[in-house]
């Protein structure tokens, strides 16, 4: 009876072992689905596969020994087994063996570090990424746009909101240099298919370079927990051919220079997760207009206040002042007096750093 029970336990042990081995293999296959979409990621994937094979062999060997010992040496009588206390040669062997294995793995990793961290002095495109709670701004260094008459031209930038993540275009097969900065807390730029992430740290600039090898749309998001809407910090990288990239640049510049390129619902703005759903508003010049503001943040006060410029010294319309707030979920309609054509600035008085935008009147 007792023997029979032990056998049954043994077969359960074996069953679990098989299931575990199966899932481990599955994990390896899943790892194969992201083979690395950049030149820098290819050696990383290669290294991962080496580690995976070594890990699997060690797992099968050691788990096998554990289960073998557990099944083979079950107590069958009351005699005392031989009382051996140790063997120095064996200890030496199983210290040296793993030491050699980890030394080799370290050497392989060391080589790949230099490939992943290599930076060319003449990248084709330089993108300055700024992380903030809770989105990204990608600025193309040297791609100048004349956004305002009389002002020096600015670098083209793509800024997202939680409701509308940024769509970033980059050319395939060319070296792209990223400089990373953060406005508030630590974020991390993570693109799973590039097998890479690097933190954006306030007070410190990080940089890295990639060369995307395959055209496609790559999802990315923040990997370093950064507060309330951390999980909403998505972005998309569109890797396209050089001509398509140039066409996109030209198109973006034209839209930016002409005013507000993306305001498809004039007169409306919403707030969610302490962010506006759009960063520019387009309105007609020299006639009063209304602005419907929908605050979707339950329990959080927001408003929309229009100013002449970023210094926010002179209020032009929107809310009647910093005390004029609405707490979501709620909607209100602001009346804005006629404004001459030009570019103005708006923000939420409660969140003047993170909730900002441009009002284009023409």
């Amino acid at each position: 009876m007792r023997r029979w029970q032990e056998e049954a336990t043994g077969s359960r042990v074996r069953g679990v072992a098989l299931a575990l081995g199966g899932t481990l293999l599955l994990a390896g296959c899943a790892g194969g689905s992201f083979t690395g979409a950049t030149e820098q990621a290819k050696p990383v994937h290669h290294l991962y596969m080496i580690l995976f094979v070594v890990a699997t062999v060690i797992f099968v060997l050691v788990e096998g020994l554990i289960l073998w010992a557990a099944l083979r040496y079950r107590r069958r009588d009351d005699a005392l087994p031989p009382q051996f206390h140790g063997n120095n040669l064996l200890e030496f062997g199983w210290t040296l063996g793993p030491l050699i294995i980890v030394a080799v793995l370290f050497a392989l990793s060391f080589q790949v570090i230099s490939k992943v961290d290599a930076e060319a002095s003449d990248p084709a495109v330089t993108v300055n990424v700024t992380g903030f709670q809770w989105q990204w701004e990608f600025t193309y260094a040297g791609e100048k746009v004349q956004v305002e008459k009389g002002q020096p031209p600015q670098d083209l930038s793509v800024k997202g909101t939680t409701a509308k993540p940024p769509q970033v275009y980059l050319p395939v097969g060319e070296t792209i240099h990223f400089n990373e900065q953060s406005k508030d807390v630590i974020h991390s730029l993570y693109i799973p298919e590039f097998l890479f992430k690097r933190d954006l740290i306030p007070g410190h600039t990080n940089s890295f370079q990639i060369t995307i090898s395959k055209p496609g749309v790559y999802h990315g998001q923040c990997a370093q927990f950064c507060g309330l809407a951390h999980s909403q910090m998505h972005f998309y990288i569109h890797a396209v051919s050089r001509p398509e990239y140039d066409a996109w640049l030209t198109d973006q510049k034209k839209k930016l220079a002409s005013g507000c390129p993306e305001d498809t619902t004039p007169g409306q703005i919403a707030a969610k997760n302490t962010a506006f759903d759009k960063d520019c508003l387009a309105e007609p010049a020299n006639k009063p207009f209304t602005l419907t503001f929908n605050n979707q943040d339950a329990g959080v006060p927001h408003n929309v206040e229009i100013y002449t410029d970023k210094t926010a010294s002179k209020r032009l319309g929107g809310a009647t002042g910093p005390a004029d707030l609405i707490t979501g979920p709620a909607s209100t309609t602001y009346r804005v007096p006629a404004l001459p054509s030009g570019r103005y600035y708006f923000h939420c008085d409660v969140h003047p750093e993170s909730m900002t935008g441009t009002l284009v009147v023409k």
């Binding site: 032990e6 679990v16 899932t23 481990l24 599955l26 994990a27 899943a30 992201f34 290294l47 580690l51 890990a55 797992f59 788990e63 020994l65 554990i66 289960l67 010992a69 557990a70 107590r75 005699a79 087994p81 031989p82 009382q83 051996f84 206390h85 140790g86 063997n87 120095n88 199983w94 063996g97 793993p98 980890v102 793995l105 990793s109 790949v112 570090i113 992943v116 961290d117 807390v185 630590i186 993570y190 890479f196 992430k197 690097r198 933190d199 740290i201 306030p202 007070g203 410190h204 990080n206 923040c222 990997a223 370093q224 927990f225 950064c226 507060g227 951390h230 999980s231 909403q232 959080v300």
Partner: protein, 565 residues
């Protein structure tokens, strides 16, 4: 066999009690008996384990579907912050300290800890810390920046509807208490082990559990003060206008990470080494053999402790601010002493006579699961691979294979093993085995698929995820697994209650174990021992009971590494 009289004045059992009788509740509240304090550590820690486990169920429930179902972002961020903080600081570290409290003085043949009142103080700080930590729920929100509380996020505090931001200060104060408790405990354990061993109990005759506790407490003594200083700096930054970690005012944000991990990485070994010690007690007993390679095991434990201080920045590879090759090499190296331990454990079972009572099942479960946590951690030691996997669910899988597959399995193994010592009764085998298998299945169902989620790019600490790459199906599987883990604690609790209500008692040494804690009654008297056997090896009771067999196997023992003489 000569007997060492340790308490010649001790009253023989059955004689009237000396002194006045106190009410049992008052007796427990004021006790300085290491055994009672140990039990209180175990119970208090298990309550926090249950609370943090409940939070984990909430986390898994929210993650079963993309979108927001049950918890807002703010609530979710509080959930995982409190889950991690509670599990680490109020469950794993103190419950192992609880075992050490009860068992170490008995194993070295001491009457109590070196500083019994300090011991009581160390314990009572913990429930207080827990109450302070959880009082955040009463004052507008708990801490919410993750158990790592990285500034500047933790300095900024939580933002959201009705959130006071006081939670982070409560978190700091609670951890200052836990840290102080740990430091006092470390001084106490180290003094006890160095100075209070019974005659004949040399360092190299100490049971392996005592060795792991000693190394653990040295780690605590060296690392925890560093962490508590960082907590004070954070408190100053948050409340008195300091700027240690605030870059806008000239501070350095990643400095916190360096200090935090300088403590928290050794703390991982604080959470695992005593578990390894427990398993090293159980495997020999249920294999009826001595621990294979005792000295190698001691050196491996010390090696892990020493290397543990030079690997902290592997948590920071993705910050781009650390020396990658050094910390990578050190992290790879720490796999070597861990490997040595595995081979010694397997050799301990090799050619033994194994019985699979519940403690042994959990101990072998520890070996099988901790192995996975060791192997998937090696991937993270390689900086390029870490760039891909850092802060994804791979890391969540890894840390749970270490802390659940490792520590929790070891804690249950120790609990089933020493329960007869605590109570005089063995826990039921049927319910124990049911508990083990349910937990084994639930654990692997919950945490193994997290490796795949990590490879597919799902970041940790997200309340919501996109319906991408089949993430949903994997998450649902994990949620089912988590519920099975929750269910698995029911047979355990039922077992404890039913066993304690049982009138009959089991024999004093039901496992035929060989260390000194089994040389006294179960449970032991307040003064622990009426008499002690002679101590010639790390297995004094084996020497006592198997003198004949020892003579037969003399050839094997002459090559002993234990230095018996």
């Amino acid at each position: 066999m000569a007997i060492t009289e340790v308490r010649p004045e001790a009253a023989p059992s059955g004689s009237p009690a000396i002194g006045y009788q106190r009410h049992p509740i008052w007796e427990w509240l004021t006790t300085t008996d290491h055994k009672k304090i140990g039990i209180m550590y175990l119970v208090n820690s298990y309550i926090f384990f249950a609370v943090a486990g409940l939070l984990a169920m909430f986390i898994r429930t929210e993650l079963a579907e993309p979108g927001t179902q049950f918890f807002s972002e703010q609530q979710y961020n509080e959930l995982f912050t409190m889950h991690g903080t509670t599990m680490i600081f109020l469950f794993v570290i103190p419950i192992l300290a609880g075992f050490a409290n009860y068992i170490v003085p008995l194993q070295i043949g001491a009457l109590d800890m070196a500083f019994p009142r300090v011991n009581a103080l160390s314990f009572w700080m913990l429930p207080l810390a827990g109450v302070i930590l959880y009082s955040g729920y009463l004052v507008g929100g708990t801490a919410c920046a993750g158990w790592t509380e990285y500034p500047p996020l933790s300095e900024q505090g939580c933002t959201g509807p009705g959130v006071s931001g006081l939670g982070a200060d409560l978190w700091i104060i609670a951890l200052l208490l836990v840290g102080t408790s740990s430091i006092l405990g470390a001084v106490n354990f180290i003094t006890t082990i160095f100075n209070m061993r019974a005659p004949g109990m040399t360092m190299f005759r100490m049971p392996m559990f005592c060795w792991t506790v000693l190394v653990t407490q040295l780690l605590v003594l060296l690392a925890t003060p560093v962490f508590t200083s960082a907590l004070v700096l954070l408190l100053i930054d948050r409340n008195l206008g300091g700027s240690f970690f605030e870059p806008a005012k000239g501070g350095i944000a990643v400095m916190w990470q360096n200090i935090f991990w300088f403590y928290s990485h050794p703390a991982v070994y604080v959470m695992v080494l005593p578990g390894m010690g427990i398993v090293s007690e159980i495997l020999p007993v249920f294999s009826r053999k001595p621990l294979f390679g005792y000295k190698a095991f001691v050196f491996a434990t010390a090696g892990i402790g020493a290397l543990g201080f030079s690997v902290w920045a592997h948590h920071m590879f993705a910050t781009g601010t650390v020396l990658l090759p050094f910390f990578s090499l050190m992290t790879f190296l720490i796999a070597v002493p861990t490997g040595v331990k595995f081979f010694n454990w397997i050799s301990t079972m090799w050619k033994g006579k194994l019985t699979f009572n519940t403690p042994m099942l959990f101990a072998v479960g520890f070996l099988s699961m901790f192995l996975i946590g060791g192997i998937d951690g090696v991937f993270l030691a390689s900086p390029p691979v870490d760039f891909a996997l850092h802060d994804t669910y791979w890391v969540i899988a890894h840390l749970h294979y270490v802390l659940f597959g490792g520590s929790v399995f070891a804690v249950y193994a120790g609990f089933y093993y020493w329960f007869p010592k605590f109570s005089g009764r063995k826990l039921g085998e049927g319910l124990g085995k049911l508990h083990f298998w349910l937990q084994m299945i639930g654990f692997n169902l919950t945490f193994f698929p997290m490796h795949i989620l990590g490879l597919l790019g799902m970041p940790r600490r997200v309340q919501d995820y996109l319906p991408l790459h089949d993430w949903t199906g994997i998450n649902q599987l994990e949620t089912v697994g988590a519920y099975i883990i929750a269910v698995s604690t029911a047979p355990f609790l039922a077992n404890v209650v039913m066993t304690l209500r049982r009138k009959t008692r089991d024999e004093e040494n039901p496992w035929d174990a060989n260390t000194l804690e089994w040389a006294t009654t179960s449970p032991p008297p307040p003064h622990n021992f009426d008499s002690l056997p002679e101590i010639h090896s790390e297995r004094p009771l084996f020497d006592l009971h198997h003198a004949d067999e020892l003579a037969v196997h003399a050839d094997a023992t002459t090559t002993s590494t234990t230095g018996a003489h």
